[in-house]
Symmetry: C2
Subunit: 638 residues, 2 copies
């Protein structure tokens, strides 16, 4: 697979999300989520850590060693949301105050990490495998890029460049070999490089090179993480390091994807979020260089991930013990870890593969992870969060207000804030519609800026209207992705248009456009029950309901309080309802076991006949927003 850039996402400054679905989420995040998250960051000492570092204090750092990153992700979300929805004075005040604190906390040499500054000033960069210094720095850099994009201010961008310069002064081909146990800096350096490309071309090149070097050296031997074992003082910071990194007493590095160079990896292993951030960075870093070998490696990993180790919801990382991957087809539903952040990371990686290949298979998975695995991480009210996302709950799983390790809440917030980036790609001679949610965009193509308006009720309905407005006649192709789930696809073009072409990925309408043109594309999104590969033993005899990009689930709240585990479904019957409480329900036919109290174990012959029942199902992302109770994605088949 050749990695060669086919498109670039239309930046947020040129796209306005008008979609009721996503704009609704963005408004919820602005109104509810961001204030709550900032209050939590304040209450838990995350903000105060910066204030204390800024005052040059020493002492005990509040909370986990990587808590700075939650503040940075909040900034990123706040900044992108102000681009999407316009300025918000309350948020802007918190934001600018926090940016000031961060800038003040940075040390003269560019170092910035409140855990080490407050608590372990002598042990900076002494435990790269577990201490997340570059991880936190990376999120600071991404926040800075967002802040610059949103406000034009270079206040935080300058902090980011000083930090990156500091990093580049310590690590690199002719310096110390080192990278972070939790990948993130690789993506951040690329984002920073892109943001400053014009103003600081040398730094931009340096940061990009540092990122590529970290990606390429990871997994080579000697491993810097293994070498740290000899540093007793550094190891004191994380006594559990060997437990995470070794396998049978010998350094393995699988947990942090340091077991092999990425080009030699064939299976996704270890911590899922780290893997996603890593592969996303590798994809982006090597896209513009047209690297076929790296493309092949990433394709193998992607194929292993999405064809062997991914839940039907786009959730990934089945196991709690390593927050990550286990074996092919090992996808337990009730104990599914499927961390919200891992699905967010999957969106990031999928988007980069899409842009580097033009293969819409990646967009299919992008929207799967976005609308299901990731979005389930936040309540519809915006104030509660899932960290792990089971596909089968007996009533015990519920979203929570916050977590000590609070990576997920601000991660889903920043994804929603910047969701417009997933919609449209632009290239020299083509406009790519990857996710046809309603929006208004100014797209740069063929040297001009053309208007593209999309109107749809996505994801509820699959009929999409396009309006293309060009200031003067311009030749380019409008390419509309045909989702993998669409059956028959119908295109309505103006009378004077040639027939649309299908290039295997996109419907392509190539012509010289003039004035305003209106096009309608109608995908087929009939409800479809899917089965899993037979090796997924947990799903034997079960089916999951999908419709378009959405995966559905059944909750006790739609079953008169009965557990959906007591329901068997007829997979040949599913009726789509009208939109109701912001959701399109689907009614299915099946049978419900009749419950009889009595002994724990009894003769099976006495089991009463099941009763026919019609039951509503709702999208998975919307579960656990009503009366708490059992939920199930993979229904037993009758």
């Amino acid at each position: 697979m050749l990695l060669e850039r086919r498109m670039t996402a239309v930046p947020l400054s040129r796209i306005r999300v008008t979609d009721p679905f996503w704009r609704g989420w963005q408004e919820t995040v602005r109104r509810v989520t961001l204030p709550i998250e900032f209050a939590q960051c304040t209450k838990t000492g995350r903000i105060e850590n910066f204030a204390r570092a800024a005052r040059g204090e020493r002492g005990t750092h509040e909370g986990y060693r990587y808590n700075d990153s939650d503040v940075y992700k909040w900034i990123e979300a706040a900044c992108y949301l102000q681009i999407a929805l316009g300025p918000d004075p309350a948020i802007a005040a918190d934001l600018e105050q926090t940016v000031e604190l961060i800038a003040a906390a940075q040390m003269p040499d560019g170092y910035l990490n409140t855990y080490f500054q407050l608590q372990e000033p002598d042990l900076r960069w002494r435990n790269l495998s577990m201490m997340h210094e570059m991880y936190c720095g990376g999120h600071m850099i991404e926040a800075a890029v967002a802040h610059h994009e949103s406000t034009g201010s270079t206040k935080l961008l300058d902090v980011a460049m000083r930090f990156a310069d500091h990093l580049a002064s310590l690590f690199g081909p002719d310096r110390r070999k080192g990278y972070c146990g939790h990948q993130e800096i690789e993506l951040a350096l690329l984002a920073l490089a892109a943001a400053i490309e014009r103003e600081h071309p040398d730094r931009s090149r340096r940061y990009r090179a540092l990122s590529k070097w970290m990606i390429e050296t990871r997994g080579t031997r000697p491993s810097p993480f293994e070498e740290e074992y000899a540093d007793a003082e550094g190891m004191r910071l994380a006594p559990y390091a060997r437990q995470m990194l070794d396998r049978e007493g010998v350094y393995s590095g699988e947990y942090v994807q340091d077991h092999l160079p990425v080009r030699e990896q064939t299976e996704v292993v270890g911590h899922a979020v780290r893997a996603m951030y890593f592969f996303a960075a590798a994809t982006e870093a090597f896209t513009d260089s047209g690297d076929e070998a790296m493309g092949e490696a990433l394709w193998r990993l992607w194929d292993n991930l999405t064809q062997r180790r991914m839940y039907v919801t786009g959730g990934i990382g089945a196991s709690r013990s390593n927050e990550g991957f286990t074996r092919d087809y090992d996808l337990p539903n009730r104990t599914a870890y499927a961390e919200t952040c891992a699905s967010v990371g999957l969106v990031f990686w999928a988007q980069r593969l899409l842009e580097g290949t033009g293969d819409t298979g990646y967009a299919d998975l992008l929207e799967l992870a976005l609308y299901n695995g990731a979005l389930a991480g936040i309540s519809r009210s915006g104030d509660r969060f899932f960290y792990d996302n089971p596909l089968d709950s007996h009533g015990e799983a519920h979203r929570r207000e916050w977590f000590d390790c609070a990576c997920c809440p601000p991660n889903i917030a920043r994804l929603i804030a910047a969701v417009g980036r997933c919609f449209i790609g632009e290239a020299k001679d083509a406009v790519y519609v990857n996710l046809p949610a309603s929006c208004e965009a100014q797209v740069r193509v063929a040297g001009r800026e053309v208007g593209l308006r999309i109107e749809s009720e996505y994801p509820w309905k699959a009929k999409i209207g396009f309006e293309i407005t060009v200031p003067e006649p311009t030749a380019f192709a409008l390419k509309v992705r045909i989702p993998g789930w669409s059956g028959d696809t119908r295109v309505e073009l103006p009378a004077d248009f040639d027939e649309a072409e299908y290039d295997g990925n996109y419907i392509s309408i190539h012509r010289e456009w003039s004035g305003v043109s209106r096009i309608t594309v109608d995908f087929e999104d009939e409800p479809t029950f899917v089965a899993a590969h037979p090796a997924v033993l947990e799903c034997r005899g079960r089916a999951a309901l999908t419709k378009g990009p959405l995966v559905y689930c059944m909750e006790a709240a739609d079953l008169g309080g009965d557990a959906p585990q007591a329901f068997t479904v007829d997979p040949s019957d599913a009726e789509v309802g009208p939109i109701e409480d912001g959701l399109v329900p689907i009614t299915v036919r099946g049978w419900i076991d009749r419950d009889e109290d009595g002994p724990l174990y009894r003769s099976d012959a006495e089991t009463p006949e099941a009763e026919e029942r019609r039951a509503r199902m709702i999208p998975y992302f919307a579960w656990d927003n009503r009366t708490p109770g059992p939920m199930l994605v993979w229904l037993r088949k009758a």
Copy 2:
């Protein structure tokens, strides 16, 4: 429920297990398991810890703080096995040498614990909640009782009494309030009290009183475990104590059954092995005092355990995180913890309830846990062990040679060694046959010693022959338990006998016996598929096969390598085969999914029709003894 002793187990010195099933296991344990376990205890420093303590050394203790207990349990198994099978010179040599070491390691004041003696001599009895000092002492006492019973030597018994005296000098009603985080000392003190009743009546009373006091004070406030929080030095020994003992930052004690006095407890909570040892001790301690309130409390707990929180195999303690209980009906199959030791503990408790009530419901559960949940803990070759016992494996669960925390291997060994204790109970005017495995016993009844020979092919066949030999005419009742699983039961009596009576629990043959009498009882043990209570959501649409006391499972090895998770069973059809490789298989009819490779998720409509297949099932205890692969207890029903 009134606790009032109905019977006492015939001691091992008066019963010879002739049963091919259990005698086979005992021979395997003698030939394979005991030598392996002793070698492991040697290799891992468990024996050397005693040698070093005996030499008065100081320094680092090898292994976990409770490793002494594995040596003690090995001694107990070795002693009881020599009673069962006769002396074994190789075992006896290791045994006596180890007993010498233990005696030499005991401190002048009676204290004995190699962890503290070697590593923390100044912190004895400073962390009762987590440090297992009384637990280890308890297993030493039980080993001493076994050693005395087996050899007549008081060498270890003297050590035990010195330890118990030391304990009684420190703890008690007018001394320090304290008991152990891991119950065991309570059972041990009762066993010691019984063993020395005649020779040391005062000590016997004192130990029994200490045990009863520990049982009764546990769960009262202030908790000695909570008070230890203030002892920083003691807490240093177990920094994780609060994590285990608190709930939301406040002391709870549920993990160690210290949340409420046992008389007020209504649900089995916390660590399963601790709970079983505790309730077994409470039952035994309060049986002879005819305590109705304690009986009621224990009945509630038993009912909660066996009607809400027990696997069909007699496995208990669903969760790995607390090695214990979760909620009613929460019985996940694949992640079932169901520790081998917990089922061993269930056998202990059931036997004491049976003896204290004469209710055969307890015997039903005793044999369920014995033949299934506990026995699965050891391979048929005797050299590999399960710690946790899932009821659903995708191929990842296998017995292991040993564990760092090695409680289970010697626990199952000592249970098998002393299994004869479960067979027959004796009382003033009745002989109780609780488990009709083949044996020859001298039973004390009506002031005489009568011979009882049982011949059966239990558990494979349910036709049981009894031969009663009395030296002179003697009136008593022979009571033969009717198992809960038996359908119709037929009794064949000599022509001159009155008809047998049924008292709701036992078939009762009450008469004046003379000479030799032969009786046959034929239980009905047709294979039966059972269903679980509907609240066990994991078992919805599934059935488990049982026959007599055995629970069956299906392994890939009996399905041509296909996973039993791909099989749906017709629960109306099951055919018992002849004994084969030491097991009675059952053949069932069903359908196997046809496997098709391809994408991870695909339209359910393309799922091929299943094929009819007949498949063998084997007893659960015997799984994972052939080609490794998936296994399942709860089969999907067609």
